[in-house]
Assembly symmetry: C2
Homo-oligomer: 322 residues x 2
């Protein structure tokens, strides 16, 4: 739950007077989201989201994120559109933070994921990858394979407090992942964090993709591997191959996967599990008592990592592999 920065009514009204959106009607902090402070903003001109960027987001990356949203929205991706103030700027400052106003997207994020949702996510992810192909902005993936060894080291010996022997096991997993990591898969703009709470639906229709603040340039198939981890496991950590088949199948229908991507998928999925395991481990061991945000249990991703370990080929994700 998050609203880290208080915004006064006076500050807000002054700030919004720089936009052509009419007057401020109402303003509520949103409890969801753990990286930034988000507010539901009702203007006489309609509903918007106001985001104040907090310390986890590097200010130098903000133009990349906002330009990307502009680019994707112009190509029909249902993402928030940054609203420019009368000075032409979408990125401004409020209450001592970088701040932006974006359009409000309808829809609810699915708490109980169905195969239909997975199909929608697969299609939307592939369309987003195609729409991002001619985006010129650059941002490397700061949380890709090259970062994981030092993340594991920074978690320190306390890793074994989460599960006895985990530090050594993860070290070996990393050896395998680093040794096998592909070098020449199709690259492009990836979302890199497309979990259910970042995707809105109305009924079975996908109405919005949000929270692009991990977006970067990396292997496109890695983004699909993130989604396999985020969408296709049940609460008991069992893998639902029906969901995976819909996710990967619909992706492949919109953007056909190359043979090398299919072959790499099990290792990419293992890498994606490692990435979320490591940041959760870090948060789990470093969140101060009394913090607003309850860290997520890293053991969920230990189980996912073990699942991908046993996967011999992408056929087990429901892909038709020759």
């Amino acid at each position: 739950m998050a609203v880290y920065t208080e915004v006064s009514d006076d500050e807000l009204i002054e700030f919004m007077s720089g936009y052509d959106l009419g007057e401020v009607v109402a303003f509520k902090g949103i409890a969801e989201g753990i990286e930034n402070s988000n507010f539901h903003l009702t203007m006489t001109g309609g509903a918007y989201i106001l985001t104040l960027y907090e310390r986890r987001v590097a200010p130098r990356d903000l133009p990349f994120f906002l330009d990307l949203l502009d680019h994707l929205a112009a190509r029909g991706v249902p993402c928030p559109v940054p609203v420019r103030a009368r000075d032409g700027k979408a990125l401004r400052a409020l209450a001592g933070r970088p701040a932006a106003v974006v359009t409000f997207l309808p829809g609810l994020w699915p708490r109980r994921v169905t195969p239909g949702h997975c199909a929608g996510v697969g299609r939307a992810l592939a369309r987003m990858h195609l729409a991002g192909a001619d985006f010129v902005g650059r941002r490397d993936n700061a949380l890709s394979v090259s970062a994981w060894r030092s993340l594991l080291k920074s978690a320190g010996p306390e890793v074994d407090c989460v599960q006895m022997g985990l530090a050594v096991k993860l070290g070996r997993d990393l050896d395998t992942i680093e040794a096998g990591w592909p070098k020449n898969l199709p690259e492009g703009i990836i979302h890199a964090d497309l979990f259910p709470d970042n995707v809105f639906f109305r009924g079975d229709d996908l109405t919005g993709l949000i929270d692009f603040y991990f977006a970067c340039r990396d292997f496109l198939a890695y983004d699909l591997a993130v989604c396999l981890n985020a969408w296709c496991f049940e609460a008991d950590f069992s893998f639902n191959v029906t969901k995976a088949r819909r996710l990967v199948g619909e992706y492949d229908r919109v953007r056909p996967l190359e043979a090398a991507e299919v072959a790499a998928l099990p290792l990419l999925a293992k890498g994606a599990a490692m990435r979320f395991l490591l940041t959760r481990l870090y948060d789990w061991l470093n969140t101060p008592e009394g913090a607003f945000v309850t860290p997520k249990d890293p053991l969920e991703y230990v189980a996912k990592l073990r699942f991908h370990d046993r996967v011999a080929s992408a056929a087990e994700y429901g892909l038709d592999v020759e």
Copy 2:
């Protein structure tokens, strides 16, 4: 910051299908509010607030609160209006909690209170008192003078950890308050918690009173005394008599205070300071580490109590006293 109960998209859609408000368009937890879980709900028919009542609110009181809102709204008080489902009920159940949908009110609560805001609050409070005169519901004030001694006792010896010698001093204050507490002032429905975050404005126009979950039957002038404490002190705890004059003056213009109410105001103000001091003290000493809500510093109300101690007559609140 509060959303204590998670509501799934499926549960919400099922729940809202019982209303004539169209379809669910969007749904966000609201970070503000510390007693209940509140959600900003966009329906095709407009914006609403969905509240799930948490443990601090007694279920048996909920019909009183919802009937009161109906009653006040019908008499022009700008408060949330409970929306009845097709079964005729405003109070229903969702995610294992009592739940209600109310209308969304425009406006922002003032972070920097001006004398103009105080005038608006004085008028609105008096109008609410008049509008409540023929309300038949009964709810005694569970946090009135008779409850304060046991609240102080339940805070225990740790009170002196907040300020050395505070427990004894507060005991003596309570002696004075109990001995002098009036018996025969005009009674009626009071809000009992009309702090700035419960009052919305657009510019200088008061657009909403919210959060009636402490409303009860008590002395009307006690409600005014609560507002003196909540609206007329600066951040350094100094008393702003200009604000008080506007608050009390506008109240008196709409609902003229009786001589006995004016005479009792300093003691009522001391009592109101005691009431908020005691619940803050209780929360301060009993909030577990790691809780979502940061307890408010009780010393603010120690300073306010000391101020009212030195007040000889209501003239010091800016009232014209013969």
